[in-house]
């Protein structure tokens, strides 16, 4: 029988070492599908590393992909801290993107300098409002937010499609379901000329630092942690539980919304219904990999993005099915998750310890 004994104190060496070790294991496991696809394993790994960080281009790509993951990761991290299970990052991301386009494509007459701030605010607001609904349903009516947020993802995606085929469709778009382009002045500037990494990354990093300070050093953070760990005791202690949940919900939604802004106003330039390859869901995993620590989210996001971009370009260079990338990412996630276990527990099978 497997048994677990909680560790009283976890050494940082272990806390950092285990996930890294796990990541390496996962990457070595990737050899199996590579081999199955009949490619040369050694070159595969070299290509993978190059693809992820072999050139300025690669790094730019890595960061560009990490940007939305950081933000959706933060969205999950802050919400989960309060045990507010926001599975709706995907929908909030689209809401943010939609709002960003609405404001950024010249829908409102705004002076150029005001455009970028306006776009950011609009996106954050949209995401926050979308998350407000399930939050209120939870605190007022006790409706399980796992389900409501999950369902809203589909409602919003359908709404976006509706907009893209209706009011917000690009007249120049030849009937394609896509929005009008975001004005040049409203686009988040690129950080490196002719590279895709954009100012959204800065936004994401600032958000991470902000979240870190909020959670650890402020009264609000204190209250969020208390409500998350034991709402009943928090209420008895005079902490405004409802208000705290609402705060967390808004913040979480805003982060996810910003992720959407980055994707349209930083990368794509306009909105289509297939904007996000599941960044919202990936964010949850990123947050968990990071143990819900905001700064950890940054690292986890970069890891996930790196694995994907690397494996993706490797599969291309080798002519192996490009689905390999997702597979490698998935395997890495599982391994890193499991490693977390060995950080928190002594694992015993029968009488004998597996780990000291």
């Amino acid at each position: 029988m497997i048994r677990f004994e909680p560790r009283e104190n976890v050494s940082t060496r272990r806390a950092v070492g285990a996930p890294v070790f796990a990541a390496l294991i996962a990457l070595s496991l990737a050899a199996i599908p590579i081999w199955a696809a009949g490619a040369d394993i050694a070159t595969a790994y070299i290509l993978m590393v190059n693809g992820a960080m072999g050139s300025v281009f690669a790094i730019s790509e890595l960061l560009a992909r990490a940007t939305p993951l950081i933000l959706t990761g933060l969205a999950a991290a802050v919400a989960f801290r309060a045990k507010l299970w926001n599975i709706g990052g995907e929908g909030q991301l689209y809401a943010g993107a939609l709002a960003a386009v609405a404001v950024g494509s010249g829908g409102f007459a705004l002076p150029p300098y005001a455009l970028i701030p306006a776009v950011l605010v609009a996106g954050a607001l949209a995401g926050a409002l979308v998350m407000l609904v399930p939050t209120l349903l939870k605190v007022k009516l006790g409706a399980d937010e796992v389900v409501t947020t999950l369902l809203l993802n589909f409602v919003i995606l359908l709404f976006v499609q509706m907009m893209l085929e209706g009011p917000m469709q690009d007249p120049m778009g030849m009937g394609w379901p896509q929005s009008e382009p975001v004005l040049e002045e409203a686009m988040l500037p690129q950080l490196i000329a002719r590279m895709r990494v954009h100012a959204g990354l800065i936004v994401a990093l600032v958000a991470a630092i902000f979240a870190a300070i909020l959670m650890r050093r402020t009264v609000w953070g204190f209250e969020i942690r208390a409500v998350g760990a034991n709402p009943s005791a928090a209420r008895h202690a005079g902490i405004p539980v409802t208000a705290t949940f609402v705060r967390v919900g808004l913040l979480s939604g805003a982060f996810a919304g910003l992720a959407g802004v980055g994707e349209v106003a930083g990368l794509k330039g306009y909105l289509t219904a297939d904007l996000s390859p599941g960044f919202g869901y990936a964010g949850i995993v990123v947050a968990m990999l990071a143990g819900l620590s905001p700064l950890g989210v940054v690292i986890a996001a970069i890891f996930v993005a790196g694995v994907f971009v690397g494996a993706d370009s490797m599969s291309r260079a080798l002519g192996v099915s490009s689905y390999l990338a997702d597979l490698v990412v998935a395997m890495s996630l599982l391994c890193v998750l499991i490693s977390g276990l060995f950080v928190r527990f002594h694992v015993r099978i029968g009488g004998s310890r597996l780990t000291d």
């Binding site: 029988m1 004994e5 009283e8 050093r217 402020t218 009264v219 609000w220 953070g221 204190f222 209250e223 942690r225 208390a226 760990a229 034991n230 009943s232 005791a233 928090a234 209420r235 008895h236 202690a237 005079g238 902490i239 405004p240």
Partner: protein, 514 residues
């Protein structure tokens, strides 16, 4: 096995049981034997290792050293497979856990039958089981409606189900962990009568308790644990309260005497409060508590104490009626109520008292994080928080590794001290203390009582909600009784005796109370 000649062969034998949790030595080389038909009380401070020992016996934990042996049919002993509740059950060991192990979404009978037959058996006819249970209930007097969902049963009824679980598997040994911590005096009495009759049938019983009175009256033998070691194992008739306390705590304890304090103005005033519906409702409740007095509210739990506590703490607003603190009406919100100088010692300290995942320090300031003292511009002042923690830990002698220890790992007694520290240190006007000593050992209990008396001396008005008559009579200046949501006029403690209060708790108006 009931007609086996008693007092000869042990039915159960623990030898050299040692259990460590990380660094902590929860049980150390404990030897204990149990004979047919006897009732053994297991005594010890919070964290002494009682529950651990019993959990090992029942197979929840695996001992690091030592063996558990169980009697065989031919009177010999055989080792019991460790770490397997299944084996324990097979061997005829039943356990009633402190925190009940019932599936609340099932009926009583389904809980009892759980695991008693093959999971693969296609259909579950309960007829035979039912007849057998009816017989058991008749013989033991443990009657309860088997077909109501457990969630709708009272604590006492749930406990009967727990015991029936054991009897249905015809247990030879029955273990009860703090069975009376949640029972009313009447319920406790009934329980011990039942246990006695079961013992006469040949059942061997071990029960854990912190209540001297019942330990002395109900047990044949008393085993005392201190810091994981078995320090005494004596026949009950040789023991008395003080010597047990000495053995247990290692120091002599005298019950706090109530000093004279002159009454102040009415600080807590409830008038005509009604709310809720069902078992936990209040009907037109009026009550006054003056500064410098302790009013005890006696009552079987679930007669409205919950609602009353919620209303006084501002967690719920009454349908009608009003509440004043020091002559000021206030709007129902925990924060507002606190600002008026009312503090609460909640009934369920694990659920409502502390945030187990947070540190001792954080739990000590949780009620005041927003006060200037611990934050500026919304940023926490860690220096101040740590200082506060250090002071409180010393002043209240909270036994823990330090302010940054996780509160969950503290014993009930120490958890209660955290709550006392953060509430009473505010020099409150009104104190609402709900079951403040439930589950605490005598050491911790004395401590709570002393603190409450100090508050009283300071001129605070204290409402003490309790089911423990000893406590009520020891602490209260006046005693009121709550039954079915109605509260009687408080009467001077001196003019009352236990039986009257007991009757009133059970619903009869006592003659000279009217």
């Amino acid at each position: 096995m009931s007609d086996a000649p008693a007092e000869q062969a042990a039915v159960l034998k623990l030898t050299g049981i040692t259990k460590r949790f990380g660094a902590l030595l929860a049980n150390h080389a404990i030897n204990l034997e149990l004979y047919p038909g006897e009732i053994v009380a297991l005594l010890g401070e919070n964290g002494a290792g009682k529950t651990t020992l019993m959990n090992i016996l029942f197979g929840h934990y695996v001992a690091d050293e030592g063996t558990v042996q169980i009697a065989t049919a031919d009177g010999g002993l055989r080792p019991l497979a460790q770490g397997s509740p299944q084996a324990a059950l097979k061997a005829g060991i039943g356990m009633v856990h402190q925190h009940f192990t019932l599936a609340e979404n099932l009926t009583g009978i389904d809980n009892i039958l759980l695991g008693t037959r093959s999971l693969l058996s296609p259909i579950a006819s309960k007829r035979s089981a039912r007849t057998r249970l009816d017989k058991i209930m008749r013989e033991s007097g443990l009657t309860v409606d088997l077909d109501t969902r457990v969630s709708r049963l009272s604590v006492g009824e749930q406990q009967r189900i727990e015991i029936l679980k054991a009897l249905y598997r015809d247990a030879r040994v029955l273990v009860l962990d703090e069975p009376t911590a949640v029972l009313t005096p009447q319920e406790s009495e009934n329980l011990f009568q039942t246990l006695r009759s079961l013992a006469d049938e040949g059942l061997s019983i071990v029960f854990i308790s912190h209540k001297m009175a019942e330990v002395l009256s109900a047990s044949d033998r008393i085993a005392v644990l201190r810091h994981g070691e078995l320090v005494a194992d004596l026949p009950s008739e040789l023991c008395d309260r003080n010597m047990l306390a000495d053995i247990m705590v290692g120091r002599h304890l005298e019950p706090e005497a109530r000093s004279e304090v002159e009454k102040g103005p009415a600080l807590l005033k409830l008038s005509g409060i009604s709310t809720g519906h069902g078992r936990d409702a209040l009907h037109n409740v009026s009550l006054q508590v003056h500064g410098g007095e302790i009013v005890g509210l006696a009552g079987v739990s679930g007669n409205g104490q919950g609602a009353l506590a919620r209303i006084i703490s501002g967690l719920e607003l009454p349908r009608s009626g009003s509440m004043e603190i020091d002559g000021r009406r206030l709007k129902p919100a925990p924060r507002a109520v606190m600002r008026e100088g009312l503090v609460r010692i909640p009934e369920d300290r694990h659920r409502d008292g502390i945030v187990g995942e947070m540190t001792v320090a954080e739990n000590l300031v949780i009620e005041d994080v927003r006060s200037r003292a611990f934050q500026s511009f919304g940023f926490l002042d860690f220096a101040a928080i740590d200082k506060r923690a250090g002071d409180a830990i010393d002043a209240y002698d909270i036994r823990c590794p330090g302010g940054d220890a996780v509160a969950r790992l503290l014993s009930g007694g120490n958890i209660q001290k955290i709550i006392l520290a953060r509430t009473l240190d505010k020099e409150p006007k009104v104190v609402l203390a709900a079951q403040p000593t439930r589950g605490l050992d005598i050491g911790a209990t004395e401590d709570v009582h002393r603190r409450l008396f100090e508050a009283r001396a300071r001129g605070a008005a204290i409402l003490l909600i309790s089911e423990d008559l000893d406590e009520l009579f020891q602490m209260s200046d006046r005693i009121a009784v709550i039954h079915r949501g109605k509260v009687t006029l408080p009467q001077e403690t001196a003019t009352l005796n236990r039986s009257q209060v007991g009757l009133m708790m059970a619903g009869q108006e006592s003659e000279d109370a009217a």
